[in-house]
């Protein structure tokens, strides 16, 4: 895999002139106004342990204060110990965002008193972040637009405090204290609420693809602060307001829309447009009224008294470490999309379906690839790739008996896609399972497709077989299971070869035999057919199907029955 040559878009000085970067696009909701948005995202790092302590990261819903070390609780005499797994995941993310990873960065203490901060300071990277100057190409419904990433920095998460208004007390859960966060800051390159939503979704997909974060806003593993300003088209950018702690894409977009109208109203009400400004503020969002509200003005902005952390010193990264991570970077969503389109000719819709399934699978700790017990990658796209590539390929000997081959044979991506999304996902859904619960291996599904393709089993048998294998997970090959269940098609693929005498098959073709029995058993229908009531043959075919327990190919059976009746009437 060669990915060293990702092109950098343009050099730094040019990139700073943000208002020239993107042309104004008219928006009928606020004609004559330009909206400028920048987003700060906090993504929890999916590491097994916290950023500076060996306490395990927990899922939500674990009993409070059970995953806490003396360091997390800021006991006297404790010292931080940097978790290199967090650093590696941050480097991965930074490289995926095309950032310059800094070979030297450092940690600082940001001081403030709050009950969710046991040490009275948060360790962050204020003066020298681990990565700078990147870019994310965001795909929205109708366009692709670049968003420059100003910086990515490592920092600690805070405790979770729950305030009880009635008792006027706060309860503190330190499980979240010290979990690693990546703060990802954009340049003000976003121009509409919809673009902001698309940016966050793209970032979520990227974080999941590189295995750095769950990126789940509802569960709080991804949180956004949004900076919004408005200005009249052609005028310099307005004063920005920051909206804190938005925890869903929907709320974020609603908050931005509210904020645009609020700021626009302030500017329009000021008599002299030349001096009109919006007061700089930090605002919150009320999820019930869908309005933003003032948290504090610029004058109340706290002084965080940043100080280099005297314990952690300089974080030195070798070029070798960075390039190793670069070379082993998992495929990014854009790359996957392009490859699926090019290599397999999938439609945008199909790709979106696959990527959506993939985003549902849980991100593993410490950037480990999602794999099953046998070490096979089990993401939906990897699964699709494996089935297409021909894992578990079957072929037929010259005598017609199926056998597994060592050289895999590629399969038709459209067929694979169809089976994965309709049959497999459908049957999983019927079992109230999702793709990550799937126990059918890619080789097993692939072989199932080969069995159908080669008419070794019938379509109706194949569905039965799939359901059986989902109900009874097995390591056996699909062929083996089909044989065990006696689902091998009768007279497979051989309307013209009525007497198969090879080993394992009866003297007389069993399908031929079943058809003969059906014709003999339904004389009234045969007579009706002979009189010209052609449709009645379906009843005879149905009898064959029933007697064969689905193993018969309906078309074959029909052909044989027609031949038998014709033969009989000619006599």
């Amino acid at each position: 895999m060669l990915r060293f040559c990702r092109p950098r878009v343009c050099s730094l000085p040019l990139r700073r002139r943000f208002h020239n970067v993107r042309e104004h696009i008219h928006d009928e909701r606020w004609p004559g106004w330009q909206v400028i948005i920048g987003i700060e995202t906090h993504a929890q790092i999916k590491s097994r342990q916290k950023l500076f302590s060996y306490a395990l990261n927990t899922d939500l819903g674990k009993p409070p204060n059970t995953h806490v070390t003396v360091f997390d609780a800021a006991f006297p005499g404790t010292l931080p110990k940097l978790n290199n797994k967090c650093v590696d995941l941050a480097i991965r993310t930074a490289l995926a965002l095309q950032c310059n990873v800094q070979t030297r960065s450092s940690f600082d203490r940001k001081h403030y008193f709050y009950s969710d901060l046991p040490s009275g300071y948060q360790i962050t990277q204020h003066y020298a972040p681990i990565a700078l100057n990147g870019q994310l190409d965001v795909t929205s419904s109708n366009s692709i637009f670049p968003v420059r990433i100003k910086q990515l920095q490592l920092e600690q998460d805070t405790a979770k405090s729950t305030f009880h208004a009635r008792t006027k007390t706060a309860q503190i859960d330190l499980n979240r204290t010290g979990v690693g966060l990546m703060e990802i800051v954009t340049e003000p390159d976003i121009r509409s609420p919809e673009e902001a939503g698309a940016y966050v979704r793209s970032l979520q997909a990227l974080l999941r693809a590189v295995g750095a974060s769950d990126g789940n806003m509802e569960q709080g593993s991804l949180r956004c602060d949004v900076n919004v300003s408005v200005n009249r088209v052609g005028q310099p950018p307005g004063t920005r307001c920051e909206i804190k702690n938005l925890n869903s894409v929907r709320f974020m977009m609603a908050a931005i829309i509210y904020e645009i109208h609020r700021q626009k109203a302030i500017l329009e009400l000021t008599p002299d447009p030349a001096t009109a400004t919006v007061p700089q503020e930090t605002r919150g969002f009320d999820e019930n009224t869908f309005e933003t509200f003032r948290l504090r003005s610029k004058e109340d902005a706290p002084d965080y008294r940043y100080m280099p952390d005297p314990n952690l010193g300089v974080l030195v990264l070798s070029e070798e470490r960075i390039s190793n991570i670069f070379l082993n970077l998992p495929e990014l969503p854009d790359e996957t999309r392009a490859r699926l389109k090019e290599q397999h000719g999938l439609s945008d819709h199909d790709i979106e379906v696959l990527q959506n399934i993939d985003s549902g699978h849980g991100v593993r700790f410490d950037g480990e690839e999602p794999r099953d017990e046998e070490g096979i990658s089990n993401g939906a796209i990897a699964y699709f790739d494996q089935v297409c590539a021909g894992v578990g390929s079957l072929t037929q000997r010259t005598d017609g008996t199926p056998t597994e081959v060592t050289a895999p044979k590629a399969r038709d991506p459209k067929v694979v896609m169809n089976w994965m999304t309709h049959e497999l996902l459908g049957k999983l859904a019927a079992r109230k399972e999702s793709f990550k619960d799937n126990k059918l291996s890619a080789a097993q599904l692939g072989q199932l497709l080969d069995l159908i393709e080669n008419k070794i089993i019938t379509r109706s048998s194949s569905k039965l077989l799939l359901r059986h294998m989902l109900e009874n997970p097995t390591l056996k090959s699909t062929l083996q299971v089909a044989q065990d269940l006696k689902l091998i098609a009768l007279s497979h693929g051989s309307a013209h070869a009525p007497s198969n005498t090879e080993a394992g098959y009866s003297e007389q073709d069993p399908l031929e035999h079943l058809c003969e029995q059906a014709v003999a058993a339904l004389p009234a229908e045969v007579e009706s057919y002979c009189r010209g009531n052609v449709n009645v043959i379906n009843r005879i075919v149905g009898r064959v199907m029933k007697d064969s327990r689905g193993r018969a190919d309906a078309q074959n059976a029909r052909n044989i029955i027609e031949r038998l009746i014709t033969k009989a009437t000619q006599r």
């Binding site: 003396v70 609780a73 800021a74 006991f75 006297p76 005499g77 404790t78 010292l79 931080p80 110990k81 940097l82 203490r109 001081h111 008193f113 709050y114 009950s115 046991p118 040490s119 009275g120 300071y121 503190i172 002084d303 008294r305 940043y306 100080m307 005297p310 314990n311 952690l312 010193g313």
Partner: protein, 499 residues
């Protein structure tokens, strides 16, 4: 096997501690350390061939112990017992030491006279009891490790652990006439040592003589994974090898010091230094010269800025480290009175913090908070960091060997010195009342000779340099390049033989 009879440290504590106030907590022996029972019981524990078997060691009260309170002499932590042992305490236990108890200190290590303590001041043992003039004023033991120094001087322990941020081991060692070693920064683990200023804090050893101090130091001098500032084994080894190479030139026997180069920094004789101190230090230097050592006058031009830089950096870090004492997770909590302003968390915490911290700690928190504010940061904190680098450079320029941690200059240079020698303090132990009291800047000036080695992170030892005109001990400091404990300790040993 014990080489010497076990002195009865606990009896000395029982007899003298009421006056001296060195120990704030004592622990009865777990079992007689010399008995057969202990030997047979401790299957996996230390045995009687352990390096510190049965040695009574006192621990400064800002070093965490799981079986004794760790109060840091603060009201804030008066009832606090740490859930874990500091690495240095664990190492002492593993080496068979008998941990006697916890020693008094200035609150969180902030002070030079051991008078800022919720447990009351430590009295210099040389100023009370037998041997002291009747009716003489009680004198200070120095600080902040005053209890650790006094415990050694009063025969209450074999040795003790202290911490040294800007002189907190060397100054009390000087006032009490004992050996006090502040090792190179990053050698002894700080895990479990309550932070005052992390970039300066060092755990160190106090003992009656150099051999005892060395025995304790050797047990503690191991890399600890839990301390992010611990220096790697590789660098320790390299620095020690370089030191021993140099020592092979001059350390060939007790009769001759031919080849040893001693630097005497001209900036270390401030005008307010007592004349007899100058005279005693001169006596030590000429004694070494008589043994063949070469005395080289050196200049360390940044010394005069060191004290201000030290107080900015130490206070800034202290203001940050003290932020955790808010009464939520542990320690004292003062609930706001009814009707109090509860609009901000800081307002709620202020009741605990105003009630729990003593005056000196509050003063330094305010100083440090100011130094870190956005407006002052560049002029104070950043300037102080620059001065710190200059001070470091001063040391690198005079020493013959390079800083193996990778300083600005590498390799050896001709004319460099092996060690520096200067007075540890500008005076002997001050009176508890009068000029030695807590009066404005005068207490800070006590540290003027000790802070440069702290800023540079280099090893410094106080050796006993004789009795001053007032009958109290004069301390001599021996300072070496980073990681050169072997040569610094050796020079101290020789000084002890000539004083």
């Amino acid at each position: 096997m014990l080489k010497r009879p076990n002195p009865d440290w606990r009896r000395a504590i029982a007899e003298k501690n009421a006056t001296i106030n060195a120990f704030v907590y004592t622990k009865p022996p777990q079992a007689n350390p010399n008995s057969e029972i202990r030997k047979s019981v401790s299957l996996n524990g230390p045995t009687d061939d352990a390096p510190l078997w049965g040695r009574g060691i006192a621990i400064k009260d800002n070093i965490c112990t799981a079986d004794m309170p760790t109060t840091c002499s603060s009201k804030m932590l008066r009832d606090f017992t740490s859930p874990f042992d500091a690495t240095v305490v664990k190492l002492l236990r593993e080496a068979g030491a008998d941990i006697l108890g916890k020693t008094n200190c200035d609150e969180f290590g902030m002070g030079s006279l051991n008078i800022n303590s919720v447990h009351g001041p430590v009295i210099n043992p040389l100023s009370v009891g037998a041997g002291a003039d009747a009716g003489a004023e009680p004198r200070s033991a120095g600080g902040s490790s005053g209890g650790s120094a006094a415990a050694v001087a009063a025969g209450m322990c074999f040795g003790s652990l202290g911490t040294d941020t800007g002189g907190s081991i060397r100054l009390p060692a000087s006032y009490c006439g004992v050996v006090g070693l502040k090792p190179s920064y990053g050698l002894l683990s700080r895990w479990g040592v309550v932070s005052f200023a992390d970039s300066l804090d060092c755990v160190g050893v106090l003992a009656k003589n150099v051999q005892d101090a060395k025995a304790i130091f050797d047990v503690l001098n191991v890399y600890d994974d839990k301390d992010p500032t611990a220096v790697s084994d590789e660098i320790r080894k390299r620095a020690d090898e370089r030191t021993r190479e140099r020592m092979s030139v001059w350390n060939r026997g007790s009769e001759s010091l031919q080849g040893l180069r001693i630097g005497v920094p001209q900036e270390y004789f401030p005008s307010d230094m007592a004349p007899f101190i100058l005279e005693r230090v001169g006596h030590v230097i000429s004694g070494l010269q008589a043994l063949g050592a070469e005395v080289v006058p050196v200049s360390m031009p940044s010394t005069s800025y060191a004290l201000s830089a030290y107080y900015v950096i130490a206070s800034a870090e202290a203001s940050s480290n003290m932020a955790r004492y808010d009464g939520v997770e542990y320690g004292m909590q003062v609930r706001p009175p009814p009707g109090a302003d509860m609009t901000k968390t800081a307002r709620v915490y202020s009741h605990t913090r105003s009630g729990g911290f003593g005056r000196e700690v509050q003063k330094r928190i305010l100083l440090g908070t100011y130094a870190l504010t956005a407006d002052a940061y560049d002029n104070y904190f950043l300037q102080a960091q620059k001065v710190r680098q200059l001070v470091k450079d001063d040391f690198d320029k005079v020493f013959v060997v390079a800083d193996q941690r990778g300083g600005r200059q590498s390799g050896e240079k001709d004319g460099g010195v092996d060690v520096l020698i200067h007075a540890s303090a500008i005076r002997t132990a001050p009176n508890m009342r009068g000029d030695g009291g807590d009066v404005g800047l005068t207490t800070y000036v006590q540290d003027v000779l000790t802070v440069p080695a702290s800023l540079a992170g280099v090893p410094a030892i106080n050796a006993y340099g004789g009795i001053g005109d007032d009958g109290f001990p004069v301390g001599v400091s021996v300072v070496g390049q980073w990681g050169s404990e072997a040569s610094v300790l050796r020079v101290c040993e020789i000084i002890a033989s000539i004083v």
